[in-house]
């Protein structure tokens, strides 16, 4: 954990971690006996589900709940469905998880997919949405959203993480290949790729414009990249897509290139596991693999009250189970020992002003939190710019009173959306 420096008249500088110089192949984790995948749609008991316990599935088979569902997932292995049930995330959004028992006797030859023609983004969205790296095909295939720039992220959005850097350099040719395919699919005129500015390796991405990103947090967040490099200020409460900009992981392009090359769906996800003592393990695992299998491979012990963080220390999500599956958009998993988990408090804001100094979006966090604490979400948005927050988490990182500021903010945004939806 990066502590505040002794003298801190100026703001603390949190630097992103840089990729190691020699890029070894990630270590492969064998396909486990049981896998689970998430489907972003709640179970509706009034409808007849298309899948049921005991169904045989093929590798790469599309799984959806109902006839009229738009959400789907794909089975990463051949096997049988063991179970499907509800799953709720930290804000109570309900999804469905499907547990699949792998059948090792079925060889992966069965893995055939209807490869969409290279000019049909709608079809691509129908089949390739769940590729490792989670390509945002849903956005790209949406006629109502006009994307003019695609930004490939070769930088990692959170501290400690180096997965995106690794993928974009190690598999540079496949990134370029994938970008060509994506260009054909989408016809988007402008492609850029983000690379850390102090990475001193030679990179060449042909026609893709390279954006050199500063190594100070939070410069790799979409809103900051747009502001610093694309001359576009994201309006409060909007998404990059509203400005015609779409972000895509380098790994999604690698998966795309491999899919079209091998004509098979790919399910290998590269991730970085950071153990309690800071050791990094770069691995390649099948989507759906329970994290516990990976921990076991490296003899990582998880104790009561430790924290498993999916993502990074500033923006990640803590999971409540070590059996959480590997997901298409999971880049980094950090295990935090219970002894170094910082204590939060229920103190009120003491107006020390540290959050104001550090907030990259100039939000009056000290005032904002007073409104959020008493559930005044509309006021918080109208008067104190709740929606301009870019979710960097820095305010909560520095708060002297140790208020879970960012938790209030995220909850506030969530409640605001609910309020507006109900209105």
């Amino acid at each position: 954990m990066i502590k505040r420096s002794f003298f801190s008249l100026s703001q603390p500088r949190l630097a992103y971690d840089l990729l190691e110089p020699d890029l070894k192949e990630p270590e492969s984790i064998p396909v486990p006996a049981i896998l689970s995948v998430l489907l972003p749609e709640p179970i509706d008991n009034t409808k007849q589900a298309l899948i049921k316990k005991g169904d045989a599935v093929k590798k790469g088979e599309k799984l959806k709940l109902y006839d009229d569902s738009t959400a789907y997932t794909t089975s990463p292995v051949a096997g049988t469905i063991k179970l499907f049930d509800s799953y709720s995330d930290d804000f109570g959004n309900i999804a469905t998880f499907i547990t699949i028992k792998a059948d090792p006797t079925q060889v992966s030859e069965a893995n055939t997919i209807n490869l969409p023609p290279m000019d049909d983004i709608k079809l691509a969205d129908q089949f390739l949405r769940k590729l490792p790296g989670a390509p945002p095909f849903e956005i790209l295939a949406n006629d109502e959203i006009k994307i003019t720039t695609i930004v490939i992220t070769g930088t990692d959005t959170d501290l400690l993480s180096t997965t995106n850097q690794f993928v974009s350099l190690k598999y540079m040719d496949e990134v370029k290949e994938g970008a060509k395919i994506l260009k054909k699919l989408t016809q988007v005129p402008k492609f850029c790729i983000t690379i850390p500015e102090n990475l001193d390796t030679k990179v060449s991405f042909d026609t893709i414009e390279v954006l050199k990103i500063s190594n100070t947090y939070p410069s790799t967040l979409p809103a900051m990249i747009m502001k610093d490099h694309l001359n576009t200020v994201m309006s409060a409460g909007q998404t990059p897509e509203d400005s015609g900009i779409c972000f895509i992981r380098a790994e999604a392009l690698v998966s795309l290139a491999r899919t079209y090359k091998t004509k098979k769906a790919v399910f290998d996800k590269v991730l970085t596991i950071i153990s309690k003592n800071g050791t990094r393990h770069r691995i390649r695992a099948t989507i759906g693999t329970p994290l516990s299998k990976i921990f076991a491979r490296f003899n990582i012990n998880i104790n009561e009250q430790d924290r498993i963080i999916i993502g990074g220390p500033m923006r990640g999500v803590a999971t409540y189970t070590p059996h959480h599956p590997v997901l298409a958009d999971m880049d980094t998993v950090i295990i935090q020992d219970r002894d170094i988990i910082p204590q939060l408090s229920d103190y009120p804001c003491v107006n020390c002003g540290k959050c104001i100094r550090i907030c990259p979006a100039n939000i009056p966090v000290n005032m904002l939190v007073r409104y959020l604490e008493v559930d005044q979400y509309e006021n918080a948005a109208d008067k104190f710019d709740l929606e301009s927050c870019i979710d960097c988490g820095l305010c909560a990182y520095v708060c002297t009173a140790r208020i879970p500021l960012h938790q209030y903010i995220r909850l506030g945004k969530h409640e605001l959306l609910t309020l507006r939806a109900d209105a």
Partner: protein
């Protein structure tokens, strides 16, 4: 499947390690040079006053916690800081009841009834001070307080002398290098200017007080005092006399910078500090009090919410909206 109970909470999962306890501990540390000097200068009574002030301030918070059945909060040292600042603003000869009443007003009325830490619109120590000053003005006659002391320097409180005799009469009595080294009569912790400045700079460097307020405060003092002095050097004291005497330096580094009663945005901080400085000199030169620091800062505390409404443009709002 085994079930291990994990810690689940929201990002960020790191913290810079700072806390209220750390902050307040550092403020106490920064006050030590001036306080220790005062104790050496004014002897055991000074130690008694400071110790009583800190302990009663903490006691009042403890008692309020018990009465309101809230969690005990004295461990954050906030009341200790209030008590310490309050104590060193008193003359060393203050009687015990005076201290106890003062800390009661400071902690209970100045802080707790507004809702405790972070909710006080005024600097609590100054609330205590103001009430004592208005009720027992004579207690703050530093010249009377120290009649039995034998100092090896001009044993006159500079600001009182200035007020009642005029600048011409005291010319040469208070060279600034004497003032800054504590060769003056005043409150326990207000005389050793150098110590206060060092403590203040320490806190600024550590990021515990906002330099914008201190800097603009001092500029406000110097500029206003300079103008008055230029206009009428015989009546009005020079800028350095004002800066290094009375509560000025305490005001610049420890009083005006109290977190919850001061602004946090850039321009408001400059305005707040500057006008606090200006008000102090106006009160000293035109008003009835020889030292206007306490009332001037309270006045600025009052307008702080208005000032702090001036804030920078937020990302994604304003002219270049897409």
């Amino acid at each position: 499947m085994t079930s291990t109970k994990l810690t689940v909470s929201h990002a960020p999962f790191w913290h810079d390690g700072d806390s209220l306890f750390q902050m307040n501990l550092n403020i106490i540390l920064a006050l030590l040079p001036a306080t220790i000097f005062g104790i050496i200068q004014f002897g055991a009574p000074a130690l008694g006053v400071v110790a009583l002030s800190i302990s009663t301030a903490m006691f009042w918070e403890f008692a309020m916690n018990l009465i309101s059945k809230k969690a005990l909060t004295i461990g954050d040292l906030d009341s200790a800081v209030i008590g310490m600042i309050f104590g060193i603003m008193l003359p060393a000869t203050s009687p015990w009841w005076f201290v106890v009443v003062g800390t009661f007003v400071a902690v209970v009325i100045g802080k707790m009834i507004f809702g405790g830490i972070g909710a006080n619109p005024f600097n609590p120590a100054l609330i205590g001070m103001a009430v004592l000053m208005l009720s027992w003005k004579v207690m703050f006659d530093f010249d009377a307080a120290y009649v039995n002391y034998d100092f090896g320097f001009t044993a006159l409180a500079p600001l009182a002398a200035l007020k009642f005799k005029g600048a011409a009469a005291i010319a040469g009595l208070f060279p600034w290098e004497n003032l800054i080294m504590g060769k003056q009569v005043g409150a326990i912790g207000s005389t050793f200017g150098l110590g206060i400045i060092l403590g203040g700079i320490y806190l600024i460097l550590r990021g515990y007080i906002r330099w914008e307020i201190c800097a603009s405060f001092i500029i406000g003092i110097l500029l206003t005092a300079f103008c008055f002095h230029q206009a009428n050097p015989a009546t009005y004291g020079g800028p350095l006399l004002h800066l290094f005497s009375g509560y000025t330096l305490l005001g610049a580094f420890f009083l005006s910078t109290e977190n919850s009663s001061s602004p946090v945005n850039k321009i408001p901080m400059f305005l707040y500090g500057f006008f606090a400085g200006v008000m102090i000199i106006l009160m000293r030169n035109i008003g009835a009090y020889s030292d206007g620091t306490v009332l001037a800062i309270l006045l600025l505390n009052l307008v702080n919410p208005l000032l702090d409404a001036i804030r920078p443009k937020v990302l994604g709002k304003g002219a270049n909206n897409a």
